[in-house]
């Protein structure tokens, strides 16, 4: 049945949204930072994976970690530049700086990779599973599995390890964290490196579903923003629920109403949720 296929698509897209958003979730939860260069970092991750795989002949499974390293480096560099603004929690400066970084990344990527569209033809996209009228690729399955694993892993890391507790301390009160002997600067660097690596990982996993362009990024940053806010600022579990919910919503909306208005519909949903539950679905502060 067509509706069931749409729901399956929605679940896959939803996990993709959640996976793309995870870095920003932690960034917002811990460092109280925004990153409007997030979409272009996604683009960069997709192109590094594509370049390594299609041009340099690196196996797909190794191309992704390579893209993650590149993403982490970009993240560290951005944090280095914005460190002062981070400590001052100067959100307006950070918003504009990250937006600027996004455009710089876009320009650099166009120079290096050209501005024609490419297809990241991963080996997993070619493997298809069919169940009667329903179908799904191995890539889709891998996205769902990867998203679930990343979320469980991050949740465990934050709640059950020493490093996770230190991250939560910084998230709640960076000043008090200093008195607990925590090198707050190092935590900020770690979180931004995670943001870069996580979005590159997401890009390597998700980008094979659609053609890639160096000019992309806007949709990704907007959907990430919706997921993070819907989920309750900085809530890891909330982001997962919001991502999957949003995926099902947009794919049903596209199938039943009109595909052209899905982004607008996502924003209507966001506004509605914010009116009804101002703190998002997974209400509560701090990273958890």
């Amino acid at each position: 049945m067509n509706l069931l296929q749409q729901i399956i698509n929605g679940i896959v897209i939803g996990h993709a949204y959640a996976l793309v958003a995870i870095g920003w979730t932690l960034l917002l939860g811990v460092a109280r930072l925004v990153n409007f260069g997030h979409g272009q970092m996604y683009m960069l991750g997709a192109f590094v994976t594509w370049w390594a795989f299609a041009k340099a002949g690196v196996p797909y499974e190794l191309a992704i970690p390579l893209a993650m390293v590149a993403g982490a480096m970009v993240g560290l560099f951005m944090q280095r530049v914005m460190l002062k603004a981070t400590f001052e929690q100067n959100l307006v400066s950070i918003m504009i700086m990250t937006l600027g970084f996004g455009y710089v990344l876009h320009g650099l990527a166009a120079l290096i990779f050209g501005s024609t569209g490419q297809i990241l033809d991963s080996p997993w996209s070619a493997i298809e599973f069919e169940f009667g009228e329903l179908w799904l690729t191995a890539q889709d399955l891998a996205i769902v599995v990867a998203a679930v694993m990343v979320f469980i892993g991050l949740n465990k890391l934050l709640n059950a390890t020493r490093y996770g507790r230190l991250v939560r301390m910084v998230a709640e009160d960076p000043k008090l964290a200093e008195l607990a002997g925590i090198n707050v600067r190092r935590i900020y660097y770690g979180v931004f490196a995670f943001e870069g690596a996580a979005v590159a990982f997401a890009a390597g996993m998700v980008a094979p579903r659609t053609p890639i362009l160096t000019s992309m990024g806007f949709d990704e940053v907007i959907m990430t923003f919706v997921v993070v806010v819907l989920g309750g600022i900085g809530s890891v579990r909330g982001s997962y629920v919001a991502g999957v919910g949003l995926g099902i919503f947009t794919s049903l909306f596209a199938a039943l109403v009109a595909p052209a208005y899905t982004t607008a519909a996502a924003f209507v949903l966001l506004i509605a949720v914010l009116v009804l539950r101002p703190k998002g679905l997974g209400a509560g502060g701090g990273a958890h």
Binding site: R165, R168, M169, A171, E172, L176, E178, L179, A180, I182
Partner: protein, 248 residues
């Protein structure tokens, strides 16, 4: 009441100045704390007590500018960032928000580093903190935000003890506590000092402070105007009149 090696200075401060904008909040020429000694700092509201200990830790929620020489044992710390001063054994339990409200008691008692156990630093394990404050053990799975004022003090002190303090600075631990809890917290300080810990205690409650301190320092408008042993200071007419409410 001074114990063990009274000649060794754990903290020595000279020419400490703390300023906010153009306002000089602290101007202290010299201050020392010996090993195993409890030094109380008293003074009226706005005398610069909190600014003093915050300045020593290189810490402020506002924009303080601190100059002067600060030594912990032989180590000069005035150029170090706060977290490195903490790692060298200079521990501050601040006034006001002193525990992480979204973390459980158990998680609040997490150490960011493994303190060096040389130079005679006593490092408490989490279980030892629970032995010292059994109330915390009962509440180990409660969030910081669910604790009472006294429990928060215990938690703040407990975390500091796990980081191997050489000098423990407490900023008004008695504020908002019932009198019985005040004396419990202060007597715990006495026990810890007997085991060799040095304490710098900020107190507004002079009477309570006099029960446990070895030496008392009176701060007025940021400067030390008087200091002496607890008994000298208790009998000083000026202290008695202004801070103990006696009619001397």
């Amino acid at each position: 009441m001074t114990v063990a090696e009274p000649t060794l200075d754990v903290l020595s401060v000279s020419n400490l100045k703390v300023a906010y904008g153009g306002n000089l909040a602290v101007n202290v020429d010299a201050l020392t704390v010996k090993k195993g000694e409890i030094v109380g700092v008293v003074g009226a509201n706005g005398a610069g007590k909190s600014s003093l200990v915050n300045g020593l830790a290189g810490w402020s929620r506002g924009h303080a500018r601190v100059t002067g020489q600060i030594k912990v044992g032989d180590l000069t710390v005035d150029n170090l960032p706060t977290y490195e001063r903490v790692r060298s054994g200079l521990l501050l339990v601040p006034e006001g928000k002193l525990v992480f409200s979204h973390l459980t008691v158990h998680d609040n008692l997490t150490t960011a580093f493994d303190p060096a156990s040389n130079d005679g630093r006593r490092i408490y394990a989490r279980e030892e903190v629970y032995d010292l404050f059994p109330r915390l053990k009962e509440r180990r799975d409660h969030l910081g935000s669910q604790l009472s004022g006294g429990e928060r003090q215990m938690l703040g002190i407990g975390r500091a003890l796990m980081l191997g303090p050489r000098l423990l600075m407490l900023d008004e631990p008695s504020i908002g506590l019932a009198p019985m809890l005040v004396s419990q917290v202060l007597h715990t300080m006495r026990t810890l000092a007997q085991a060799g810990l040095s304490v710098l205690l900020i107190e507004q409650n002079v009477k309570a402070a006099l029960e446990v301190v070895d030496r008392l320092v009176l701060l007025e408008r940021g400067t030390i105007v008087m200091q002496g042993s607890a008994s000298e200071m208790a009998n000083n007419p000026r202290i008695a009149q202004a801070y103990l409410g006696a009619h001397a």
